[in-house]
């Protein structure tokens, strides 16, 4: 089934110098295991191609059922030097939740209608 990530995940983002980070957290082990395979750095790089100019890094946090992404060079220079509206990447978490994914039907029980 086609869904938007916001129906199965939580996200929060902030700045790390000239990069931003997006933490993506799941509410079930099953969704997290699916995400570890399917929400790769290349998928995220493609999603953020108009925002992140640099490398994408990914860290796994099994204890939180979360993936932490670093979006390289995504803040127009970052900090007070940046001219862009979201110079701290505050909204990048919400941007990741806009991603459309194809979720296997056996995980449909975890999908929120909100």
């Amino acid at each position: 089934m086609k869904i938007s990530l916001h129906q199965i995940a939580h996200a929060r983002s902030g700045d790390k110098g000239t990069h931003s980070n997006v933490g993506l957290m799941f509410t079930s082990q099953e969704l997290y295991e699916w995400a570890k395979i399917n929400i790769s750095t290349s998928v995220v790089k493609q999603h953020f191609k108009s925002i992140a100019k640099g490398e994408i890094l990914r860290y796994e946090m099994d204890n939180l059922l979360a993936l932490n992404f670093i979006l390289g060079d995504s803040l127009g220079g970052g900090g007070s030097e940046s001219l862009i509206n979201d110079a701290q990447g505050k909204t990048h978490g919400q941007a990741l939740l806009l991603m459309e994914v194809d979720l296997p039907d056996n995980l449909s029980q975890f999908v929120s209608s909100k």
Binding site: H10, R12, N85, Q94, L98
Partner: protein, 449 residues
């Protein structure tokens, strides 16, 4: 040794709610109130205030707060830990002592010093500290003449020392944000420098609470599920001597504490989660167990820590030129196309006048400023805000930009409004330069009066 201490954080940044810390202190049991007033470039603003007036250079908002919670501090024994001292904790203390005296109270105030290395930068350079930019590797010589401030993120045992000397308010400058919560844990439970797991637990607790309501339902992905956000309660850490802790909030306050609201905040501004480096310890954020106890209470245990590094982080700020930005609202049929034409006209007029910039930005608020091309732009929109920005070392050029926005209302496409704030003026850019310094070269001091 205490059993459980309750540490509430009432201020996530300078400019956060002025009522939240008052409610934390008055609306329920609390042992410690922590308050973070410093952002990365706040200290540079304070350093410059101090240059103009040697009695300034700290967060004045803090004085207003203490005035409101003086009975809780002096009579109920709530202790306050804050970085509001900025670059002049001594003057801040003098004001506070006077303020308490005026109310017939006497309070003991500790001051932590040694984080402000701005006056000794040259000396430290001679001792071999490169201050090279730890993110980019850039040479410090490129900014050395433009430095406004330099502060070391010092360790949290300084806070413990001040409490040990009887301080009811601890005034620091640049201690680490999570350290404001870790300091009282070290003091109350006698945690040692080598108790890495315990220091890691205190640091994680401080990290979760440091942004105030951002762990109690604010900025939360499932915002529809958060009750009474208008009355949101700020976080309270219930720390045990073993390093096991709960995050909760005062009863009857709004907001939500759950595995998910806490988990989201754990992820905030996270780099490599297995190596979160603080002045006190290196925390492994992949180590702990999190357990939602229900009733707005989440428990965290088994946090693992590793030895700290042998250097402190230094937060340096410097002058990096000027910038300005301005906005125009464009409405009606084909609003986006008209906004694009408007931008083109303004940039062309500036170019015709011989004015170009080191950097410019053109954004369409309401369409793509936050999320770029992730979502397609709708074919029909009611209105869009055009936001233009420039950056340059030449202040005159930046101010010249500000004069080119208003004319387009009568000399551009139709339906443009929203230019009410006057001409955008050049603002100084105070940029951030992170560096490292060997711990052996940093000398802190604590005194309580």
């Amino acid at each position: 040794m205490s059993n459980i201490i309750r540490i509430g954080n009432g201020q996530g940044f300078w400019g956060d709610s002025i009522d939240a810390p008052v409610r934390l202190a008055k609306d329920g049991p609390l042992d410690y109130l922590t308050l973070d007033y410093l952002a990365e470039v706040t200290l540079s603003i304070m350093q410059r205030q101090k240059l103009k007036n040697p009695n300034t250079g700290y967060a004045r908002d803090f004085l207003d707060l203490v005035e409101r919670i003086l009975p809780e501090i002096s009579d109920k024994g709530v202790k306050v830990i804050t970085n509001a001292g900025g670059v002049n904790p001594q003057s801040c203390r003098s004001e506070l002592i006077q303020l308490a005296k005026n109310s017939g109270k006497e309070i003991k105030i500790g001051v932590i010093q040694g984080d402000d290395i701005f006056p000794t930068l040259t000396e430290l350079r001679k001792k071999g500290v490169s201050f090279e930019n730890m993110d980019t590797g850039a040479d410090f010589d490129s900014i050395i003449d433009k430095v406004y401030s330099a502060n070391v993120y010092i360790n949290s045992s300084t806070i413990s020392e001040a409490l040990d000397k009887g301080a009811q308010i601890v005034l620091a400058g640049r201690v680490s944000d999570p350290g404001l919560a870790l300091g009282p844990c070290i003091y109350e439970f006698g945690w040692k420098d080598q108790d890495y797991d315990l220091l890691a637990a205190g640091t994680l607790a401080g990290h979760i609470a440091e942004c105030g309501a951002q762990c109690t339902g604010g900025n939360y992905s499932r915002w529809q599920d958060v009750p009474k956000l208008a009355d949101v309660g700020y976080p309270i850490i219930e720390m045990q001597p073993s390093g096991k802790f709960c995050i909760t909030k005062h009863e009857n306050s709004g907001g939500l504490i759950s595995r998910e609201t806490i988990g989201e905040q754990v992820l905030y501004e996270m780099g490599d989660p297995s190596h979160y480096i603080s002045p006190d310890v290196c925390v492994d954020f992949t180590s702990f167990n999190i357990n939602d106890l229900g009733g707005n209470k989440v428990s965290i245990s088994n946090v693992a820590g590793l030895p700290p590094t042998d250097s402190y982080k230094v937060s340096i700020s410097y002058f990096a030129g000027y910038k300005a930005s301005g906005q125009l609202t464009v409405s009606g049929p084909n609003a986006y196309e008209k906004a694009q034409l408007t931008a083109k006209i303004i940039w062309k007029r500036l170019k015709n006048a011989g004015v170009t910039f080191e950097d410019t930005s053109t954004e369409y608020l309401g369409l793509s400023s936050c999320h770029g091309e992730i979502n397609a732009i709708p074919s029909q929109i009611n209105e869009v805000v055009l936001r233009l920005g420039v950056k340059d070392s030449d202040k005159n050029k930046v101010n010249r930009f500000g004069k080119e926005l208003a004319p387009v209302i009568t000399s551009g496409p139709p339906g443009i409004t929203g230019f009410s704030g006057g001409r955008p003026k050049a603002q100084e850019i105070i940029a951030y330069w992170p560096a490292l310094i060997p711990k052996t070269l940093v000398h802190t001091s604590v005194d309580v009066v």
